[in-house]
């Protein structure tokens, strides 16, 4: 369960996030949708605690991301945007390193890595060093790395970037599986169709503010647009740049 309450974040003169609030409950998929530069990544970075909000608060399963950041990090698996791997380690070693850092018991690490390798269909290249991996292979390994410790909350920043149709499809299946397991999944995207196909709740943000936060049907109703792309564009225009 992720709770975001009125967070603000500026970088110098750029006011990237100006009061974003939403909830991402367990057993549901929440989509953070918005055009480029809307503040999606900044919001997510606050949630996985690499950035501190200027004001407002956020918590993961009740653990405050600022005052109790270590506890908050224990409850999440995060896939940052453009996450990179260690090129001299094999895919398996990359995943196992993160498992160890996440405190997975030594005796369980091999099993866990095997499971996630199978789940994400990494086996073919698991023993290869990650140098020279394709974007799709890299994303899969990064994803495996952030899920290896079975986190209750999963935060994915544009996970489908650079993936082909097949890979996107298996990513979608994975996200649905996480939902069925009762996890809280929060992911960002700028592709409306992708979000509409998956999410129970959609939070559209633009210019650092929440434009609309509702289910897909709710958004259609409130914007008066049947076409989801039209609904997206209309929602964004409800927020003034300043």
């Amino acid at each position: 369960m992720i709770t975001v309450d009125n967070i603000h974040k500026s970088f110098g003169k750029v006011h990237a996030v100006r009061g974003v609030s939403f909830d991402a409950p367990d057993g549901k998929i929440t989509g953070l949708l918005g055009p480029n530069g809307a503040g999606k990544s900044t919001t997510l970075r606050v949630l996985y605690t690499v950035l501190k909000p200027d004001s407002g608060s956020a918590s993961i399963d009740g653990a405050n991301v600022v005052t109790d950041s270590l506890a908050a990090r224990k409850r999440i698996g995060a896939l940052p945007h453009g996450a990179g791997l260690y090129p001299h380690l094999t895919a398996r070693e990359n995943i196992a390193y993160f498992a160890r850092l996440c405190g997975v018991d030594k005796s369980e690490i091999d099993d866990r890595v095997d499971q996630i390798v199978k789940l994400l269909e990494i086996a073919d290249f698991a023993e290869r060093r990650t140098k020279g991996f394709s974007q799709g292979q890299r994303t899969k390994v990064s994803l495996a790395r952030s899920l290896v410790h079975n986190p209750q909350n999963v935060i994915l920043d544009e996970p489908s970037n650079g993936l082909d149709v097949m890979a996107t499809r298996s990513l979608r299946e994975l996200i649905l599986k996480l939902k069925d397991d009762g996890r809280c999944v929060l992911f960002s995207s700028h592709v409306m169709q992708e979000v509409a196909a998956l999410c129970d709740d959609i939070c559209i943000i633009a210019h650092g503010r929440v434009a609309i936060d509702d289910s897909i049907d709710g958004i259609r109703e409130r914007t008066g647009c049947d076409d989801i792309e039209d609904a997206f564009v209309k929602a964004i225009h409800r927020v003034e740049p300043d």
Partner: protein
């Protein structure tokens, strides 16, 4: 502690797998220094002996005017050979480099000698050419010796004791020992040790911040349930390990390469046995922490791997500066110098190589103050690792 060790192990494995950086860190740094050192020393020794022992072939114009001088030169291991036509041709030949030095004896040489007016000879050389200058010096010294011989003969003919011409007798007493003479040259070793140690950890120091950031692996790493202190301490520990390896290789390489250097011929017997090698390692170990933390600190301010490399090449020079200044000013070890990392290690090493008694207080100050500075720098690194700006 477990996390720190996990990070440490991963960095060690990662670095060992990276052949190219490993090559530059563990081969170039430690091996290149001693090899270069051995090469330069061997060359200079060979050349200094070669020129003293070998026969100098000196082109002499007008040999027929001074047969006695020519045979005197021959006794001084200088053979007169046929030279260019005249002085003008000799100057051309020296300028062009065909001859290093040419002696010109004018036709009136014999007459002037007999008339007891200073008899003129010309020595043509290029004084800007230091290589040629050595041969010119030999010829000049031989001529002076001949002059002294003639002076002696003339003075004796007038019934004067030739010793009257030598009112002062300078006796030089050199208190330097063979080990002491080595120290001047071998003091240079400190540069190589400092350099090798820093080279060994440079890649990892950069990788801790700029490298991880550039690769995009920093953010995933920081989102894990570990404290940033554990991450950076693990990384600095791995950096220290590679620096130590590099230093050990450098010490070993020096130990063996010194065996191949004919230093006795230069009157040097460096005290650099296995015990000194181990003592040097122990004395330089605290410096490893300072170097690792300093490089990590500097790299953490840079935006990219490339920028970090540029800045760290400055860091490579920084610890050698105090050594250089003290070497140039030939300052004796003082207690206050022992507070300066790299300088204190250098001075202690020089004392050991000179086979002089080591001041226990100096060792204690060097180790304590260097370690303390290392700990403070490491702490500063950890503070900076908590910054948000780390993500760039």
């Amino acid at each position: 502690m477990g996390t720190l060790f996990t990070v440490f192990l991963k960095e060690v494995l990662d670095n060992f797998r990276d052949r190219r950086t490993l090559g530059s860190a563990l081969l170039m740094g430690p091996i290149f220094g001693p090899v270069l050192f051995a090469f330069v020393i061997n060359l200079s020794i060979e050349r200094s002996f070669e020129s003293a022992e070998s026969t100098l072939e000196l082109p002499v114009i007008g040999q027929e005017h001074a047969p006695n001088l020519v045979s005197f030169l021959h006794s001084q291991n200088i053979d007169a050979i046929d030279g260019p036509e005249d002085t003008a041709a000799a100057m051309e030949a020296v300028k062009a480099g065909t001859h290093d030095v040419v002696l010109v004896i004018p036709a009136e040489f014999g007459e002037q000698l007999a008339a007891m007016v200073p008899a003129r000879v010309e020595l043509v050389s290029d004084q800007a050419n230091s290589d040629a200058e050595r041969d010119a010096r030999r010829a000049r010294n031989a001529l002076r010796a001949y002059q002294q011989l003639l002076t002696g003969t003339r003075v004796v003919a007038r019934g004067i004791n030739p010793r009257a011409l030598q009112p002062i007798n300078i006796d030089e007493v050199d208190v330097s020992t063979p080990s002491g003479r080595s120290a001047m040259l071998l003091g240079m070793m400190s540069y190589f040790f400092v350099f090798a140690a820093l080279m060994g950890g440079m890649y990892l120091a950069i990788d801790t911040t700029a490298g991880e950031r550039e690769r995009g692996s920093l953010e995933p790493l920081l989102s894990l349930p570990v404290t940033r202190d554990q991450l950076i301490y693990g990384k600095i520990a791995a950096t220290c390990l590679f620096m130590t390896l590099s230093l050990m290789l450098s010490l070993t390489a020096f130990y063996f390469s010194l065996k191949f250097m004919p230093l006795e011929q230069l009157g040097m017997t460096p005290n650099f046995g296995p015990d000194v090698v181990l003592a040097a390692l122990a004395i330089f170990l605290p410096f490893i922490l300072v170097g690792a933390a300093l490089m990590t600190l500097v790299a953490s301010f840079t935006k990219s791997y490339r920028e970090a490399q540029t800045w760290l090449s400055v860091v490579l020079i920084a610890p050698t500066m105090p050594i250089l200044i003290v070497s140039i000013l030939t300052l004796r070890p003082r207690t206050e110098f022992m507070f300066v990392p790299s300088l204190s290690q250098h001075l202690l090493l020089v004392d050991m190589v000179k086979n002089e008694p080591i001041n226990g207080l100096h060792v204690a100050i060097s180790v304590t103050s260097t370690l303390l500075i290392g700990v403070v720098l490491t702490w500063v690194c950890a503070r900076l690792y908590r910054r948000e700006g780390l993500l760039g």
